[in-house]
Structure formats: C-alpha cells, structure tokens
C-alpha cells in the first residue's frame, strides 16, 4: 500500500440492528457524528477537514450535515490550529482538531506543551483545555520520513496530556468519544495503516479488510471505551506482549506464527495508563516483550520496561525484550526493513522464552 492508495476512500458499512460493520475511518467519523449531534459545543476543524472531509476522509459529510460553523477548514498552521482550539476551550467549547499527519504537529509544540497541557495547573482549574487533537501516525504506506512517524513518546513525556492510540474500529469510536468528553487535552493518535484493515505486517500479502474482523462491529450510537483502560487483546500464558496501535496485529501474527502462547495487552491509553492490567499479566506470564513502531531510544517502551522493573522485578524469569523501529528517520524505500514486522517480534518472543 502506498500513500496514494491509503488516501483513497473506504468501503461502505453493512448495517444491522444498532450495530454496523465499520472501518476505522467510518468508526471515527461515527464518533464525531455522534458527538456533534449530542453536544452543541463540539466543533471539528483542521486542514482539509471541512468541504473535502479530510485527506483520509474521516470527516467526510460532516460539514454538509452540521454546517460551516461546526466543521470547517483551517489554514495550514498547526500552531494556529491548536492555539485557537485552546482559546475555544477557554470559552467553553470542545474542539476536536485534526493535525493532518502526526509528523506535522511540531509547529504546534508550544501550544501543546506549554499551553494546552498546563492551562488547568497554572490557573488552578480556572481555565481548562478540553481539546482533542486527532493525528494519523505510523508507517506502512511508503510515506517516507514525514508521513510515517510515531511521536507518542513526545506526548507521554508531557505532564497534563493524555495520549491515546486505538487499534480497531470499536475502540477507535469509543475512545474518541471518551476523549472528546474528557476535560483534559487528549492526543488521539490514529495508526493510519489500520484505517482500512487490521494490518499484521505482512505487507506482501493481500490487504485484509475490516469487514472480516469482530472488532469492526461498532454500535451506531453513543458509547465510551474508558480512558486508562487496556484491553487483553489475546489471552496467553507464556509471555506478555505490551503494545498498541499497528503492532497489536503484528504481535498477534508473531504469536501465532511462533506458536508461543503470548498474552497481548493493547494499552489503548498510553498515558495515563492501566498499570493494573500490565502488572497482572506480567506477574502471570513472568516474561515480557515490549513492542512499538516508534524509534527505540527514549521511546515509550523505555517507560514500560521501567514500570515493569519497578512493579514486577521479582516475578520476571527473563530480561524484558524491546522490539521497536530503528533509531533512524523512517526511510521511504526501505520501509519494510525499518518496520518491526512479525519476524522481528517472533525472534524477540523466542528470546524471551529461552531462559
């Protein structure tokens, strides 16, 4: 799949009573639709999100339905997008802004780190920033170094931000609604390679659509997936895999291909996170592999391994393994040598089982 293919439309949903089969794009759109309808304070904006409906089509049709005062295009200025979102939040709105690619949030760093994240603290709750910042992240579409990054650790390092990353349509909708309803600023990272199907890292195989997957059954109405709650994505006894986003499916493929009975914890909320779920699983399996697509050094995996060391040290039977992107910019042509695919995760699983 290339950028050109990833940026085209998605398949139609097959409705059933109160639940529809949705792609991740449709589930996110449904969350925005539900919240725009329920809460007159919700506004949606960003580059190309208005008339066109976003380069990944997540906001398609919403401007026509809710009007240009609720869903609109923004100038290409990420600092401006986040800055006005903070201002709107100060007024009392619940802005949901899209940063077209997570790779483009950097011009907004000051508004995110110094402003949105600290408004509550510095005003002792006088002002808050109930802002949700949606950002497609991750690789797998030949996007090169500026359409592939996974900057989650840059956000988890900032006190006051919540960082969330769903990996399937059901969680995407429930977490987006929870994020919009949350009074804290939420960084909502959307693994773009999962938009149209549960990609497991086998890039040379045919694309698997969401329609086959149980987590593509999404309630049509309002529901939340609570923040700070992990999902046991796959139960297992041998080893715990702590992961999130695209790597959940990569890890699942690695577990089935190695035959290792891995328990996969999809963190969903990266920070603040569901420490109990992590500790429970690692104490049960006594082994742990941490997997993420982002670069390794000072990556979120470092935080996870530190937490396990602090909370599970005496239960561990093997060193914790980390599988991550290499510490280089995301290359374009060598994408699949960079991407930590099922083979690399599988090797780490075997190492974790050795001792």
């Amino acid at each position: 799949m290339t950028m050109s293919e990833a940026l085209t439309g998605d398949a139609a949903a097959v409705p059933s009573a109160g639940t529809s089969t949705m792609t991740m794009i449709q589930a996110l759109r449904s969350a925005l639709d539900v919240m725009l309808a329920r809460d007159p304070d919700v506004v949606v904006f960003g580059e190309d999100v208005g008339y066109f409906g976003g380069v990944f089509r997540v906001t398609d049709g919403l401007q026509a339905k809710y009007g240009t005062s609720r869903v609109f295009d923004a100038p290409i200025n990420e600092g401006g997008i986040v800055g006005v979102a903070v201002g709107m939040g100060a007024y009392g709105l619940r802005p949901v802004a899209e940063i077209q690619f997570a790779d483009y949030f950097y011009p907004a760093s000051d508004q995110i780190v110094s402003e949105a994240a600290r408004l509550r603290y510095r005003s002792v709750g006088d002002f808050t920033a109930p802002v949700t910042l949606r950002m497609p992240c991750g690789g797998g579409i030949y996007g090169g170094q500026t359409h592939s990054q996974s900057p989650e650790a840059l956000f988890t390092h900032v006190c006051g931000l919540r960082t969330v990353m769903p990996c399937n349509p059901y969680d995407a909708k429930g977490l987006l609604i929870a994020s919009i309803e949350c009074n804290d600023p939420v960084i909502f990272l959307e693994p773009k390679r999962l938009y149209n199907g549960p990609f497991d890292g086998h890039h040379d195989r045919p694309v698997v659509p969401w329609s086959q997957h149980p987590l593509a059954a999404v309630p049509d109405g309002h529901y939340v997936v609570p923040l700070e709650s992990a999902r046991v994505f796959r139960e297992g006894r041998d080893v715990t895999i702590l992961t999130y986003g695209t790597m959940v499916f990569v890890s699942e493929a690695a577990a089935s291909e190695t035959g290792i009975d891995a328990e996969i914890i999809d963190l969903r909320s990266l920070w603040p996170l569901d420490l109990d779920a992590i500790v429970r699983s690692v104490k049960k399996t006594r082994r742990c592999v941490v997997v993420h697509e982002a670069t390794r050094t000072s990556g979120f995996g470092a935080e996870l391994t530190a937490l396990i060391q602090e909370h599970c040290f005496y239960h561990l039977e093997a060193p914790i393994e980390r599988v991550t992107g290499w510490d280089t910019p995301y290359p374009h042509a060598q994408e699949w040598d960079y991407f930590p695919g099922p083979a690399r995760v599988g090797r780490a699983l075997r190492r974790a089982m050795e001792d």
């Binding site: 950028m3 050109s4 007159p40 240009t68 290409i76 200025n77 500026t146 290499w326 280089t328 910019p329």
Partner: protein, 422 residues
C-alpha cells in the same frame, strides 16, 4: 454556561456569526474568477530597483504582466530577451511538462510510490532559474522541479532514479519521490514539512551578507503554506537584516482541497503581506514567462545591490491534482483551469514567439516531440537501474548512515541486528 452563551443578544444587535471563506466554484458550478484582480499587459509601472518598499503597495495589489492576449510583449517590464533565449525557456517548460506527464504514468505503474506535478506552473521556476546566477541557492518546495529541469547540468535520468527509489537514487531511497537535493545546482534539500525552508532561505542570504559574498538566496512557498508562522518569521528576519533573498509565493489558488482564501487571500493579496512587513513586493502573472523573468531579475538585482529582500506573489493555477494521492474533482470544478484567466504558460510563450515571427506551430510540435523522446529515453535508462516495484531499492543497511557524521555504537549494533536477522 451553555445557557449563558445562548442568551439573546441585546436589543438592536445581531448575534455574532463565524465567517468561513468559500470558493465561488465547486464541483458542478463554475468559478467566478473576478476575485482575481488582474491588470492589462504592460499597464503596471516598473520602478527603479532602489524603490522604497513602502512605495510598492500598488505593485503588490496590481498584476505585473508583459504578454498580451494577442501574443505581443508590452510595457516597461518587457525584459527584451533574445528570441534564442525565449526558445530555451519554451523548451525548458516543455521538458518539465513532458517529465511530469511521464512520471504520473510511472506512478500508476507503481514504478514510483508517489508524484507531484507542476502542470500550469512551469513558467515560474523556469523564468526564475534563467534570472539567477551560478552559486545562488534556491530553497524550493516540492513543486519547483522546473528549477532543476531548466538546467542542463542535472540529468533527468538521475532525477528519475530518485523517483524510482532505485539503486542509483542519490537520496538512497530515504526520501519520498520528488524530495530532491542538489547543492551543486543551488537546490536545497526539500522538506516534507511545509514552510520551514522559507526562513532557511533568509538565513542563507544573511550568511552571504555576513561573509561579504555576492550570492543571493531564493525562497519558495505555496499560498497555503504562507499561513504557517514560518512564513511571517521569514519576512521579519528578511526585513530586519535586509537579507539578499527573493521570497517567492506561488499562489496557485489551492492548497490540496482548500482555496487560497483559507490561507488568508480573501480581499487581499499575498504580496501585500510583504509590504506590511517593510519588504518591496510585487504581484506578478506567473503564467507569463516574460513577466516571471523580468520580475525575478528585478528582485535579484535588488538583492545583489544590497537593497534587501523582495517578495513576489506569482499568480498561477494548480492545473493538476495536488499529488497522486489527490482527486480534485471532489472539491473544485473539473474545467477550472480552462476558465482560469491567465491561461497556459507554454501556449502563451509559444503564441508570443509566433507573433514576433520567431516560431511556428510546426517547429513547436517538432520540439515537443523531440523533448518527449528525450524524456522517454531518460526513463528507459533510469529503469535499467530498477524501480520501486521491482525491488531494486538501495541497500537497507544504508539507512543507518548519515544519521550522524560518524555512526555511534547504538546504530552500529542496530545495523548488525538488521543484517544478522536477530
């Protein structure tokens, strides 16, 4: 709180409403191009290069044009180029157009993952390339391939190897197609992050002044990206230090799906931003090769004479899709370019050369075919080194190089891990 906000407006006052600019044309109905203030060819005065920036206000609102509809070159901005030079300009534009057309097909054949064409904007890079001197440095966006293709010293084969991410790709497969880097041709490495290069152009120009050099810089940005803070920052630094830089704004009316009014172009001009910052500014017909050359030359002379920066807004039209990932029929009329008042830059220069008796349709066709054959031959040669689809990509282990000047231990270890399959 909601209740409080919803309270009725005081008697006699309408409640506020949000203005969101809209283009006049959308799929199914035509654009009303009267929003685009134009001036007749030859009508706009050409001030001396030491004009006070404050006195360029009118030039930033009008439209500098040389080529009239009947093909004649009119007025004080006529650069009086030799016919031979004009034919070179025409050939360079044809080359860019043929190159783009072929690479679009190559993308559909998956030989490259991605492409961005410059259809309709060929005159701008070409005209400016002709006005710059060896050693000057451009800080382009992804849509200035004409700066490279206007030169004889950059081979199309090499550019195509970059697009095909093959083993001869000078960017070693690291960069998205079209993200060229050619220091030797005065072409700064292209960033995927919009607008960053605009400030860097100013910094390069400041360096040239610091070193008492004679070279100048040329920064490039699209209408959409002028909304970034980096654009305004660049104007401030350029003005403060009177940097020897040409600040080019390519206003092709669109930024992916958003109309230039969303970038702040409604009822004002992008050139006007320059005047407000104390920078001499021009608004120029970007589809008029003669006007492009003349304005670029004027700005370059100012820069080289220690008179400081010039901002030029090039009015043009993005005739094709934003990129191969885009479908403009979803957000603008299909026939928009045909109705665009400034026409096609190649057809206009061709008409001028014919009008002055220096060209003919037959020669034009012959030249176009010759150039298309050159582009096809270049592609054939480039493909012998592989394309993305056949897997002849640069060595994966090379991705660990150039992160630092010398490879630190952790990258040596990671490279070893990649190679050993551990």
């Amino acid at each position: 709180m909601t209740e409080q906000r919803r309270s009725a407006a005081p008697a006699g006052r309408e409640p506020l409403h949000l203005h969101v600019p809209e283009p006049s044309g959308r799929p199914g109905h035509h654009t009303d191009f009267s929003y685009l203030q134009t001036s007749p060819a030859g009508a706009v005065p050409r001030p001396p290069i030491d004009v006070s920036p404050a006195d360029t206000g009118d030039l930033a609102r009008a439209l500098v044009r040389v080529l009239a509809d009947d093909g004649r070159a009119l007025g004080p901005w006529n650069p009086q180029l030799e016919p031979g030079r004009l034919r070179q300009g025409l050939a360079a534009m044809l080359k860019t157009r043929a190159f783009d057309a072929r690479m679009l097909v190559a993308q559909r054949q998956k030989k490259t993952s991605f492409y961005m064409q410059s259809l309709g904007e060929e005159a701008i890079g070409t005209g400016q390339a002709f006005a710059l001197e060896p050693g000057d440095m451009c800080f382009p966006t992804y849509r200035q391939q004409s700066l490279l293709l206007a030169r004889d010293d950059i081979s199309m084969v090499e550019m195509m190897c970059q697009l095909f991410s093959n083993q001869r790709d000078p960017m070693k497969g690291r960069q998205l197609p079209v993200m060229y880097s050619y220091k030797r041709a005065g072409f700064f490495t292209i960033s995927g992050n919009l607008a960053t290069q605009f400030i860097q152009a100013v910094g390069w120009a400041m360096a040239s002044a610091i070193k008492r050099d004679t070279r100048i810089a040329s920064g490039w940005i699209g209408d959409g990206a002028t909304a970034e803070a980096d654009f305004h920052t660049a104007l401030t630094f350029a003005h403060v230090y009177r940097a020897p830089v040409i600040l080019n704004v390519v206003n092709n009316q669109w930024a992916i799906s958003t109309f230039q009014a969303i970038a702040g172009g409604e009822a004002t001009t992008f050139a006007g931003r320059g005047v407000g910052s104390g920078i001499a500014s021009l608004r120029v017909d970007g589809n008029d090769f003669l006007a492009v050359y003349a304005a670029s030359h004027w700005a370059a002379e100012r820069a080289r004479s220690n008179l400081g920066p010039t901002l030029i807004e090039w009015v043009t039209y993005r005739a094709g899709a934003h990129s191969t990932s885009d479908d403009p029929s979803k957000y603008r009329p299909k026939d928009d370019w045909a109705n665009f008042p400034l026409g096609d830059p190649i057809a206009r220069l061709e008409a001028h050369l014919i009008a002055i008796g220096e060209w003919s349709e037959a020669r034009h066709d012959a030249l176009r075919k010759e150039i298309e054959a050159q582009v096809a031959a270049a592609q054939k040669e480039a493909e012998t080194f592989g394309t993305l689809v056949d897997g002849h990509i640069p060595d994966p282990a090379s991705m660990f190089e150039d992160v630092y000047e010398t490879m630190p231990a952790h990258l040596v270890a990671q490279r070893a891990q990649l190679l050993s399959g551990r």
